[in-house]
Symmetry: C2
């Protein structure tokens, strides 16, 4: 019989967001209430006007849209970007099946096989899989919680640029760290992109969730407009992960040639999701402001709880809805599994994503986790209770060992 | 500046279904009524119960579904296949973003780069693009309208099988020809699949549209169950091309390992499309029977008109909703463009897909077109009027040349 898994499919990593789901399901069967902080799926209701648009729109079939997206939706996204950036035209906007498809299309259509893409680790774990699909190689520059995930100096970054490097892939605000990078920091990276003639691809799906100050778009920087490619999505900001509506925004029409062909090949993005997206973009209520404040309150709650747990090292995220946290454990993957398999506190436990999956460098992130604060404040308090108590009982806690060690001395 | 189009994106063919759209749009701007027979987008309303399911379902966000699809929808598809095949289980069903994603996932996860896939030409033109995305090579066995697109004998087929061949990719009913292949014919191909240890991938998106007798599924053949992979979609049968809901059905769980990882990577198929699909599969009205009859009447109309047009060579399609037709022209692409650019009859013209795009062998299909009968009988009559009159006026008609030649003798 033929091979059951091609060598390239074999390289695809297990999803850190879903890998432990069987354990979560088993826990639920035992009656444990699992608080899901493992995946960035918002729990906050979507904008009412956009939900109404689905329920009230008249259509007697679900047709293909234009391969590049419904024209009025492309106008909507162009308008959204033009609010902060120099003019973006509808022709600069391509609607994709979520940002997943968008990133894959960009990598496939603009890079040659084995070309290198510079990322900053920890990065969104699924980038590894899209790189394998597009047969390109990620090279990572490491960032560290100890210095708030600051970008290193140019010399350090340039050490990871080789003659095969063709693009920088950046996320702002960052998933998984929640760090927001400034206009000046983007500009500094942009100068490297110009110096080495690299594409500058920025995943901006969390851009509206920047708490202290607005998060700049890469499109704001005029000198980068010919090489800047934005990957965006409505999934997070409108609680619509299942709409499967993302976008590629690029003001250099030459760079969209191959993406145009890929879009025609897969025919269409989802019709109803696009109707929803258009209504959401047109929404004139203060929905977005309210949602941002809700995430900010949760961010504060989670940060405040975590920094008081002994042995936990954390950082105040400036945006997105994630915390990336160092735990007093040797193997966070094992700890996450143990939480589901062997632990409960008042009938509850927590599911998180283990940190190593967000790094390219072997060994990094082993004692880290990402948690998504996509649950109510009440449930987040309960989740923090669970983590706090679990770390006191986890048999492989390095903190317990330290305590034991200290006691034995 | 970086390359604007990777070498692989450069290989992606222009879409024969959309390539001439700018000409169609220009014709419309001149006031011409363009009858679109170029793309397989049904004009018949979707099942009312499924549309109601969208309008009436309660949801306050659009969530990710399970990466492999909503469980009850997988059950629905399993039930649909189990009606005619030995039992298909929900675990054998994976929900995809249309059949496009399904086919790409199968090729990527089960074949190595440069592996060969056997197809029968004319084949669905977009297979060429998916093969390029998955870096596999198509090899074509030619079929001919003159003998009703019959499969050739085994010796002829085996000449196209090489040591790199890993799969047969088949469509039944065939897009673009409308030919329906019998259980015995599938079985004969299946014996070759067993002999050469090939996967047998069958695109069955038109299976419900088989007019004279039911079209068998590849899953019906017990001895092929371990290597059979069905690609399916709700797009055509429920007039829901924009739902972006397709499926991969495979009863060999080993073959789904890589597909599972790809699904998790891209997170989810569209949520509302899946709600629609489930309601459509549950629909207990005689919707499907009525739709099939409507297509059959159109098939009869189009065939009857075409076979009376001088110089046109055609064949009575047994299924799907396409006609694949030889025209008395030297270059069907040019004729299709001319129809949009330079022709109208009573203020109308026709858009079709040119035949060469459905072949791998250079030079084949140059005088052929595919037309999709996705318009009312009234408009199909008008479309046939247009084609008939156009062929009398087209300056490069080979028929005109023959007539002139005969008159000059």
């Amino acid at each position: 019989m033929c091979a059951q898994l091609s060598s390239r499919a074999h390289l695809l990593p297990e999803s850190p967001f879903r890998q432990l789901l069987p354990y979560a399901e088993a826990a639920k069967k035992k009656g444990v209430d699992v608080i899901h902080l493992n995946i960035g799926q918002p729990d906050i209701p979507a904008p009412a006007t956009a939900l109404e648009a689905i329920h009230e729109a008249y259509f007697d079939k679900l047709p293909y849209s234009h391969a590049l997206g419904i024209e009025s939706l492309r106008e909507g996204f162009a308008g959204y970007y033009s609010q902060t950036s120099p003019e973006v035209k509808p022709a600069d906007v391509v609607i994709t099946n979520g940002s997943s498809e968008g990133l894959y299309f960009v990598l496939f259509s603009l890079l040659e096989p084995k070309d290198e893409v510079l990322v900053f680790e920890p990065y969104y774990a699924n980038y590894s899989g899209f790189a394998i699909m597009a047969d390109v190689t990620l090279k990572a520059v490491s960032l560290h919680v100890e210095n708030n995930f600051d970008l290193p100096d140019n010399d350090t970054i340039e050490k990871s640029i080789t003659p095969r490097t063709r693009a920088i892939l950046f996320t702002n605000p960052c998933n998984p760290t929640g760090r927001v990078y400034s206009y000046q920091e983007l500009k500094r990276l942009g100068e490297l992109a110009i110096k080495y003639d690299l594409l500058f691809i920025v995943d901006e799906v969390y851009r509206v969730f920047s708490f202290a100050k607005p998060c700049p778009s890469i499109l704001d920087i005029p000198e980068l407009r010919d090489r800047a490619i934005v990957i965006d999505s409505i999934s997070k900001r409108y609680s619509a992960c299942g709409a499967r509506v993302g976008t590629i925004v690029c003001c250099n029409p030459q760079l969209l040639t191959g993406i145009d062909r890929l879009c025609k090949l897969r025919l269409s993005a989802p019709f109803v999701g696009q109707l929803f997206a258009q209504a959401a973009l047109d929404d004139s209520t203060d929905y977005m402001e309210k949602v941002k404040k809700a995430y900010q309150r949760r961010r504060d709650l989670v940060y405040d709880r975590l920094r008081h747990i002994p042995g936990v090292e954390t950082y105040l995220p400036e945006g997105a809805f994630y915390g990336f946290v160092k735990l007093p454990v040797e193997n966070a993957f094992h700890f996450c599994q143990w939480l589901l398999e062997s632990f409960s506190h008042h009938g509850q436990t927590v599911m998180m994503a283990h940190g190593a999956a967000f790094y390219l460098t072997p060994g990094m992130g082993r004692n880290e986790v990402r948690l998504a604060y996509v649950a109510s404040e009440e449930r987040l308090q309960q989740a923090m209770d669970c983590i706090e108590v679990a770390l006191q009982h986890y048999p492989h806690s390095t903190l317990v060992k330290e305590l034991v060690h200290n006691t034995n001395q």
